[in-house]
């Protein structure tokens, strides 16, 4: 036994319909995992030292299911454009710079520090096509003690020359990447075709083979923008829909799969996502910024589809997941105003997506139930007036108005980072 006890106002979501709010309570942690949450500490723990956070709130730490590390520098820039123009004018130029490992060494520490500062202790990250720079990213994550799935991006067409690799090279480097000794229990590889237009059918096929052979999960983009959907239709006219292209090549549901955006799905695709247990990743800020559209999020949830949340930095302009939570709520309210048949997302539900659903991509993560990893943030506004709010109001205040400076401690798998 390696016990520790954390005390404060404990808040998490076991179910999406409500917050569990445990005022002045105790979390007992054994090594990496949670033993239980107690209002009154059981006698058997009476000799275990208590870390007492007073009037702070303690919540599951954030997980980001969709973020592009190389776009950190362009966050907030060039958002007057839509997806394809934005990729060509800003994003590909940003990503090209990572052919220079020294540039990666300059930028990635800032990106990883921003994840740490903002309490995003686990994330699913798109890097670039460049393995050497991506190893720099992984090393920075390791130094900060963060957990992540990191993807070397695959592209062999429809991008600037400097970002295109031959199919052979892209596959060879993907194998080298997943077999490298950079990975650990906390940091793992993920197969990352950028999106259908960037990949030939041959490349998609070989990536699917690697994913299945090595049991490596998959992340990519799906149905973000109407023009993109039309483009995919013209590239793969024989496939009945966009999702089916990924599925044909074993990049859809054979291993754990993240499909970012998923705005314009047909009924058949919605059914496929449910059958194949896909994580659709809602990225509300990105979708507003690039005028992409709004995912019918609550309709998806009510159909039993698994939907997580992503910041999608750099098209999303905030790393802190509290901004993604509140923007998801705002977007769903707009959807509800337009169409009364679509209900809005409640605060507990949005929080549940950002913690328990997002966490489930990593295993028993994102809740304070028994046997979950103890991944947590300790939040304190540092303002007596605000700390006089109820614990739930303190959480609301943080989600809507808070920033990294309100996070006073971070725990991953039981360890203080």
């Amino acid at each position: 036994m390696n016990l520790k006890i954390i005390k404060g106002h404990i808040i998490y979501t076991k179910e999406k319909t409500q917050f569990e709010v445990c005022k002045d309570s105790f979390i007992v942690v054994n090594n990496k995992k949670i033993v239980g949450v107690y209002k009154k500490l059981p006698d058997k723990y009476i000799d275990v030292p208590i870390i007492d956070y007073g009037d702070s709130i303690i919540i599951p730490s954030f997980i980001d299911l969709h973020i592009h590390a190389p776009q950190y520098m362009q966050m907030g820039v060039g958002l007057d454009l839509e997806l394809i123009d934005w990729l060509n004018k800003y994003t590909f130029r940003s990503e090209e710079k990572f052919s220079d490992i020294d540039y990666a060494r300059e930028v990635y520490p800032h990106f990883v520090k921003a994840l740490y500062d903002n309490g995003t202790l686990r994330s699913c990250i798109f890097a670039t096509i460049h393995n050497d720079s991506t190893y720099v990213l992984i090393e920075e994550l390791r130094k900060r003690g963060l957990s992540a799935y990191v993807g070397k991006v695959n592209m062999n067409q429809n991008a600037p020359d400097k970002l295109i690799q031959s199919t052979e090279c892209s596959i060879k480097e993907t194998r080298e990447f997943i077999e490298s000794n950079s990975f650990s229990e906390l940091i793992k590889p993920i197969i990352t075709p950028r999106f259908v237009p960037s990949c030939s059918s041959e490349l998609l096929k070989k990536l699917g083979e690697i994913s299945c052979k090595y049991n490596i999960p998959v992340q990519t983009h799906l149905s973000e923008n109407k023009k993109e959907v039309e483009w995919v239709k013209s590239l793969f006219p024989k496939n009945p829909n966009y999702s089916d292209v990924y599925r044909e090549y074993n990049l859809y549901g054979r291993e754990k799969t993240l499909m970012a955006h998923s705005i314009y799905l047909s009924e058949a695709e919605i059914e496929m996502a449910k059958q194949d247990n896909i994580f659709l990743v809602h990225c509300p800020n990105s979708n507003m910024n690039l005028t992409s559209g709004i995912m019918p999020l609550t309709n998806f949830l009510d159909k039993g589809i698994k939907v997580g949340l992503g910041s999608d930095v750099g098209a999303g302009h905030k790393i802190g997941m509290q901004h993604t939570i509140t923007s998801a709520i705002q977007c769903s309210k707009i959807n509800h105003i337009i169409n009364e048949n679509e209900r809005s997302l409640s605060e507990s539900e949005a929080f549940y997506l950002a913690t328990k659903i997002n966490g489930s991509f990593f295993g028993k993560v994102g809740s304070f139930e028994k046997d979950y990893y103890f991944d947590a943030l300790v939040i304190n506004s540092g303002d007596k007036l605000i700390n006089n709010l109820t614990p739930l109001e303190q959480l609301q205040r943080f989600l809507y108005c808070g920033d990294a400076s309100n996070i006073i401690d971070r725990y991953l798998e039981g360890q203080l980072l």
Copy 2:
């Protein structure tokens, strides 16, 4: 002559269609006002000392046309409700507390500091019905050197007992308020009926008389929520529309007038707003948070209506006007996705609204053109990588990703605050 010269990357909007970007340039200020912006400093100024901000950007300071000071403490809290329930469950309870001047002395310094920190150097503020607490607010604004129109709120019906005054008392205290010696060139009173449902026709009539007699501008709410619009219709069945109730009682366009929200306007009301030169105040975060609706902003602008921007704290959850700017853009993009006939708001246009249009409520404010007051913010991310962006990209980065810590200096009417 009392000259000073400020140097840096100077950005402002003379027209809404584009940013004026003056890299490494000089603003010459004489006493309170701008003489000119120069790429090369004219010889006659060669002996004037220069305040050199290096690679910082210099922009007009922010103006907020709609903000509720007493709601500062509830910002971010209780946003799962719609307007009327939110007023009853949270807002009125917040405002009741200001019957205690000691509570005002505790809270208002934090509110005013937040305005200062976030670069909102001028604002149009709803206080509460309580004169004594409102004098505390005015004193705090004065101590920080900020400019504002401050309103004692009028309500004589449809609110909790503690927030209702008799018509006689409400009018008497309004007179005392506007005649008090709290005001100055920088801080002025504004007539503030909360909204039609809170005021009898008699109260509205007398407020209109005061506004006209003393030439005092007016701020209130208009057409924020569908249920509210129906309610007004039931209260004033003889008036053809909501706007007409205010106009009947001389609270609409006789003096400078701010109408917050203005979402559900009829064609007749749109025409009235144009004819009477009303400032409609768009509050996108509030409108999303309370599921109120989305103002058809660009359609209004293209019809020649004057639209400004407001944070609407506490239904809006961010004081920094950069959040209102980017949320206005996001909302307009959603409107465009839904209805292609409604174009989205460009970044320069949103900035123009927040600076030059909002500033025009205060006179020659919100631009760096000749004879404008020199009201400015100096912005520096403190990050070498970001300061390597172009000046316009630095501004974009600040608007989307920045916070108060990026504002390194603040000038109001030529004075460093």
